[in-house]
C-alpha cells in the first residue's frame, strides 16, 4: 500500500491536499459543469475535461492551459454539481498551483491582472482602482496604442466622479498588523 502512494499520481494528490480540491475524486464526468460554464467555449479544456486530465496526471497540460484563468467565479457549476465537487474552487486551486510552479499561461492577461490587484492588497490593504489599472497596464506590458483605447472610458469615469486618485489608507499600526499576518502566512508556505 505504501508503495502505491509513493508511485501514485502526485498531481492528483497535490490537488486533493488543497482545501476544496479533495472532492475531485468524486467526479462522474457528467459534464454539468461545462454545460453551465459561461466561458467554457473559450477555454482550452472545459471544466469536465480539465478534471479528467488532472485525474490522469496531466500536470503540465493542465497547469499551462488557459482554462482556469477564464473562470469568472460565478459558481454556477458549483451549485449544480451532483457530486458536490466545487469546480470553481478547483479552478482557484489550479491557478494557485500554476503560479507556484511558474506555469502561468501566456495567452491570457488574467494572471497579471490578479498579480497587480494582489500587490496593492498586500502593500496597503486596499485597492485604489486607478493605481491598480495603471499597475496592470505596466505589468502586462500593454501596447501603448491599446492603452490609448481606454482613454475615452477613463474620461467618462473622471467626468462622473468615479475615479479616486488617493488611495484609502489604514492607520499605520493596522497596516503593520495586516503585513505581519500576511508575511506569517507566506512563511508557512501555502495551505496544505
Amino acid at each position: 500500500m505504501k508503495t502505491n502512494v509513493q508511485v501514485g499520481n502526485t498531481f492528483l494528490e497535490e490537488i486533493c491536499a488543497v482545501p476544496g480540491g479533495e472532492q475531485i475524486r468524486m467526479c462522474i464526468q457528467c459534464g454539468t459543469c461545462t454545460a453551465s460554464c459561461p466561458n467554457a467555449n473559450r477555454m482550452d479544456h472545459g471544466p469536465r475535461e480539465l478534471i479528467a486530465m488532472a485525474r490522469a496526471g496531466m500536470r503540465q497540460e493542465v497547469l499551462s492551459s488557459n482554462s482556469m484563468w477564464f473562470c469568472a467565479s460565478c459558481y454556477l457549476c458549483t451549485v449544480r454539481c451532483p457530486r458536490d465537487i466545487k469546480p470553481t474552487e478547483l479552478m482557484h486551486a489550479l491557478e494557485h498551483l500554476a503560479v507556484r510552479h511558474g506555469l502561468s499561461n501566456a495567452r491570457t492577461r488574467t494572471p497579471t491582472m490578479y498579480r497587480s490587484f494582489s500587490d496593492f492588497v498586500y502593500s496597503i490593504g486596499s485597492v485604489p482602482e486607478m493605481g491598480f489599472m495603471t499597475w496592470f497596464l505596466v505589468l502586462a506590458r500593454t501596447n501603448p496604442l491599446r492603452a490609448l483605447k481606454m482613454l475615452p472610458l477613463m474620461f467618462s469615469l473622471i467626468r462622473h466622479g468615479r475615479i479616486s486618485v488617493r488611495a484609502r489608507r489604514l492607520k499605520p499600526e493596522a497596516e503593520r498588523q495586516l503585513r505581519a499576518i500576511l508575511d506569517k502566512a507566506e512563511a508557512m508556505g501555502g495551505m496544505s
Binding site: 477564464f70 492577461r109 491582472m113 494582489s118 492588497v121 469615469l157 498588523q177 506569517k184
Partner: protein
C-alpha cells in the same frame, strides 16, 4: 433602531462605486438602520488574492472577521464579492481544521484571534429580511407604479451559498422592487455572470456576457436594471458604450444600485443618492415617474 457593523469594501467606500456606499447609508438612515463602519478594515482580497496566495487570502478575511467579532454585531456588506469572500472564509475555517490552525497562527502574528462567531450578511438580506418589505413599502413617497425594473442579482450574492435566497431563481430583489411600487420584469438571466474582473484582462469575453444581460433585460421591457454588486454595476454601466460599439446595438439602459432606487422611491434627493455617477443617465427613465 437596528445596528450593524458595516464593511463597505474598496469599491463602495471611495472607489468607483462610492455611489453605492453613499446611497446605502442614506437609505439605511431612513429605515432606522445604523451601519457602523468596521475600523481599519482591509480589502477582502476578492478572487485575485485567492488565486495568487491562497493561505494569505483566508488571512485577509480572517483579520476582518476577527475585528468584527469583537463588536458582536452582524457584519454587513453591500458588495457581493466581499460577501462571498468573507462567508467563504467562515465556512472553510469550519470545514478544514488544518487550515483553521494555520490561519490562527498567522492571525496571532498580528496579535489577533478569531473564534468564528462573526456572522456575514449582504445588505439586500438586511433590507429584505430584517427590515422587511412592509416597512420598506411604508416609506415610499414617490409613485413609481409602471416603472419596469430588471432585478439583476449577479452571481456571488446567491452562490455558492448557502445564502438567504435561491442560487438560481432568487426572489428577494424582485419583491423589494415591487414593495417600492415599481414592477420587477421577468429577467431570465438575473443570476448570470457579468464577467466580473475579466472585463480588465479579457474584455471580449466579458463584453459578450454583458451584451447577453442587456439584451435579455431590454427584450423583457425593462426601463432600467438594478444591481446589488459594485462590479455588476460597473460592467453593465461603464462598459455599455463598448458593448454598443462591439455589437452594433443601441442600449441605453440606466444601471442603478438597488439602494439608489430605494432612495428615489423614498423621496431622498438625487444628490444624496449620487445618481449623477451613473454613466448611462438615469434622468430620462425616472423623469416620467418621479414627482408626478
Amino acid at each position: 433602531m437596528r445596528y450593524y457593523t458595516y464593511f463597505p469594501g474598496c469599491s463602495s467606500s471611495d472607489g468607483g462605486s462610492r455611489a453605492y456606499g453613499q446611497s446605502a447609508l442614506a437609505v439605511a438612515k431612513a429605515l432606522d438602520v445604523e451601519l457602523i463602519e468596521l475600523e481599519d478594515w482591509n480589502c477582502c482580497g476578492s478572487t485575485p488574492y485567492t488565486s495568487v496566495e491562497a493561505l494569505g487570502s483566508f488571512c485577509l478575511s480572517a483579520r476582518n472577521l476577527a475585528l468584527a467579532e469583537k463588536r458582536g454585531l452582524d457584519l454587513v456588506t453591500p458588495c457581493s464579492a466581499c460577501y462571498l469572500i468573507l462567508s467563504r472564509t467562515n465556512s472553510y475555517l469550519r470545514e478544514y481544521p488544518k487550515l483553521r490552525a494555520k490561519v490562527g497562527e498567522a492571525l496571532a502574528a498580528g496579535g489577533l484571534e478569531y473564534r468564528r462567531t462573526a456572522r456575514v450578511r449582504h445588505l439586500l438580506d438586511i433590507f429584505a429580511n430584517d427590515i422587511g418589505y412592509d416597512k420598506i413599502a411604508s416609506m415610499v413617497k414617490e409613485d413609481l407604479s409602471g416603472l419596469k425594473v430588471a432585478p439583476y442579482y449577479g452571481c456571488q450574492v446567491v452562490r455558492p451559498g448557502p445564502s438567504f435566497d435561491h442560487p438560481e431563481s432568487p426572489q428577494s430583489l424582485d419583491r423589494l422592487i415591487e414593495s417600492l411600487g415599481a414592477r420587477a420584469t421577468p429577467f431570465p438571466l438575473k443570476t448570470r455572470c457579468c464577467g466580473g474582473s475579466l472585463i480588465i484582462s479579457e474584455e471580449d469575453i466579458a463584453l459578450e456576457l454583458i451584451h447577453k444581460l442587456l439584451d435579455s433585460a431590454s427584450s423583457n421591457g425593462a426601463e432600467c436594471i438594478v444591481t446589488v454588486c459594485p462590479l455588476c454595476q460597473t460592467n453593465l454601466d461603464v462598459y455599455q458604450g463598448r458593448v454598443n460599439k462591439k455589437f452594433k446595438t443601441s442600449f441605453n439602459l440606466p444601471i442603478l444600485f438597488f439602494t439608489q432606487l430605494m432612495g428615489v422611491a423614498f423621496g431622498i434627493e438625487g444628490k444624496a443618492l449620487a445618481l449623477e455617477k451613473c454613466i448611462v443617465s438615469t434622468e430620462k427613465a425616472l423623469a416620467r415617474y418621479v414627482g408626478r
